[in-house]
Amino acid sequence: MRQSRIATFAAGAAVVAVTVAGCSPSDTDDDAGPVTLETWISQDMETLFPGDAGSYDPISVLDVVYDGLVRYDPETTEPYNYVAESIEPNDDNTVWTITIKPDLTFQNGEPVDAEAFARSWNYTADGDNGLYSNYFFSIIEGYDEMQPETDDDGNITTPGAADELSGVEVTDDLTLEVTLSSPFAGFATMLGYTGFFPIAQECLDDVETCSKQPIGNGPFQVTEWQQSQELTAEKWADYPLEETPGYDAIHWTEYATGETAGWADFKAGDLDLSFPPTAEVESAKNDPDLSQRYVEAPGAALTYLGFSFYTDGPWQDIEFRKAISMAIDREGIISSLGSGQATPADSWVVPGGVPGGEAGTCEWCTYDPEAAKAALEKAGGWPEGEKLQISLGDDEAEVEYFTAIGNSIEEVLGIPYELNVDPDYFTTRAEHGYDGVFRNNWFPDYPLNENYLSFYAAGSEQDSQFGWYSKEFEDKLDEAAAAPSLDESVALYQEAEAILAEEFPTIPFRWSFSATYYSERLTNVVLNPFSGAPILRAVEVAA
């Protein structure tokens, strides 16, 4: 009896050992199998519902699963009609008539018609659903009636009165008439964003399932999502439109610790796209073979410094703000931290990344210690014995950057600083809780220079996150929004940026940066100049 217990234990261990060894991997692709692009996303992707997808990963997945009314030119980022046959504004850009191409369907066979867009927009615009992309619809008439009311403590008192946007009207099967609450020449540009994708009725009937198993209208169909581990999408055989790549499937491995986690897998040949961890950036760059398979592009996200205009301080004087800006050695800080994975910023709109974006619009964004000292003197200097507060959230990499910024300011201007790392940063910032300088970051939602500028226009000092207001600037934005054509509008937005540059309420610091290495199997790897993601629809994969 006793002997048998020991035997059972040993047998148990043996079972484990045998299971581990197994016999043969069952589902390994043979040579004739489908051609699969192997790429990665982060492990924290929670949803694939278009109206709720606000971050890089779901947006890049949904870009191949869904088709929007417009898509963006990979080189110029300008929109062109894709699912839309035509998008026409009225004279003052307030009413937009959208015609949809005929005979398009979702992957479940439901028609992609005007109703499919209207139901998607209404659901996302309904504030009671608490979706990420809700705020995009504030431009459409009837949005306010769909939002819940809250009391002073931020609790919902009454849900939104309406369930549908009064400004969205389905005039026939393939035509939508959209009335905006104020003129906007760039409305068509917005329509390619994830939040504006259509959804099938089956999806709306069971949003929870649909957010894991999307029913798209794009070239790829999600076949399996083992959430937090891997996601597979296969080519949709009946895809009616032209922008679909030659390979058969995309497999995303989910990594817990960001994009560099897959580097070992990339080197082992199990991943087609990857970027090395900081320690290996140099050796990858110097590898003659690897460096042939590399693409990079400046990113579109701007990190910049804001001032608390709502408190008294030297920053009320533009000369002081100039002094701070010219005291920051952007070039030096960026090259010494993060192995150059950023670009120094000298404009408020990303140069080359969106229509209207130009480099060098900021006159005082170059490191110039002498001019900085002169400007500080002109501003009356820094009050004796005080410290400049520099506030930001508790992100380790950002703390490093902002320590370097503080040091640069202290070294050039002799202004002692104190870093205020605030875990409740977003709330404090929204409540005007800072005194001094604070970090800001802007990732644009759609490629138009307007998107980098209009959030400054809050209508008053109290409503602005910086406490800054300029009537001239806001009037220019209104003029641009009502311009007769997009090109004229873009030019007028550039003038608005010039006003911003003149009044200098914020200091551009750095642009994000995107780069990737790719495997020998891939060709035509192009980064989207706007999002920085590899354009999966364009990649060619050898079998």
């Binding site: 581990q229 610790t257 709330t427 910032r429 802007w442």
Partner: protein, 334 residues
């Protein structure tokens, strides 16, 4: 024995409730101090009050107590216990079912632990027994030196070196030698592969097990040495029993009680090692889930996962106690 297990189970429930309350209080304070996680949903975008309120409601953060520092938020806690009683473990901060997360993550961690346990026992018993048997020999010294070296080598260094230096060439070599459609390339894959979980967890598990095995080797050696000198072994030998029988039945078995105790105690500790291994090898497991949940002040997820882990630990402890009785006839729980 039955009554003993029942008593232990009742104690366990009490312990569990205490652990849950403690965790609930800690995470609640974290939310109150770090700000409402609903704000983080919007990241850098400035959201309106209505948008934040809607997101709070959607993810169950709308109880005003989360905004009042020092409020123990017992209401949501009791509500959660009620849900647990009905088998509903709630959702994380982004609406994903906690039971779904655990169902995906727990099997991976269990696989890792299985390999670790087999490695511990295999190495510990084998090398420890050998060293005890040949006490004072060159082999004994060699084994003891090895165990010190293993101890001195941090597990994350072992894993990083393996992943970045060894695995990539080994994976390529295995693919060329055995072909792509064979097991060896999977054994040496630098990251976990959810489609081949056992094969890709094998080497990381062995490495993690190796790192923890030093203590086992020394423990087995010491306790077997004691047995070799015991009266019962002398008696067995003088009865004329074969050496093999004496070793297996009177030395190894008698010296197993402390080893089983150590397995039980190290089990909980191994989760710490699992966080590192899972993170480095990209295994989606309980360690990594818990790590992220704590970082994000995800009360629901932290509570769900820790409750489960605490339950498992309690069960393991009971199993260890039962194993005592099976191994040592002198121990009875009546």
């Amino acid at each position: 024995m039955g009554r003993y297990i029942l008593r232990r189970a009742v104690q366990a429930v009490g312990t569990l409730l205490l652990v849950m309350l403690l965790l609930h209080l800690l995470t609640t304070v974290a939310i109150q101090l770090n700000g409402n996680p609903a704000q983080a949903f919007f990241g850098d975008k400035v959201a309106t009050a209505a948008q934040i309120a809607a997101v709070e409601e959607r993810f169950g953060l709308d109880d005003p107590c989360y905004d009042q520092v020092g409020n123990p938020c017992l209401g949501p806690f009791v509500e959660r216990l009620g849900q647990y009683a009905q088998g509903d473990f709630g959702t994380n901060l982004r609406g994903r079912e906690v039971s779904d997360i655990v169902a995906t993550a727990a099997p991976n961690t269990l696989r890792l632990f299985c390999v670790v346990l087999v490695t511990w026992l295999a190495l510990g018993m084998l090398l420890g027994s050998l060293a005890a048997r040949r006490r004072g020999s060159a082999g004994d010294h060699g084994i003891r030196l090895t165990s010190v070296l293993i101890d001195a080598f941090p597990v994350f260094v072992l894993l990083i070196v393996y992943r970045y230096v060894v695995a990539v060439p080994l994976h390529g070599w295995a693919e060329r030698t055995f072909g792509e459609d064979s097991w060896p390339p999977y054994w040496f894959k630098p990251s976990f592969d959810a489609d081949h979980p056992w094969a890709t967890v094998l080497v990381p598990g062995i490495l993690l097990g190796l790192a923890g095995s030093a203590a086992f080797i020394r423990l087995v050696r010491a306790s077997q040495l004691e047995s070799y000198q015991g009266d019962h072994v002398r008696t067995a030998r003088s009865k004329g029993l074969g050496e093999r029988h004496v070793v297996v039945h009177h030395v190894v078995r008698n010296s197993s009680v402390p080893v089983v105790t150590a397995v039980g105690l190290t089990f909980a500790e191994a989760l710490g090692g699992a966080v590192i291994t899972e993170g480095l090898m990209n295994i989606y497991g309980m360690g990594g889930v818990l790590w992220e949940a704590v970082r994000n002040d995800d009360v629901g997820l932290v509570l769900g996962v820790v409750t489960l882990l605490a339950a498992v630990t309690v069960v393991v402890m009971i199993l260890v106690d039962i194993a005592y009785a099976l191994l040592d006839p002198r121990i009875r729980y009546e």
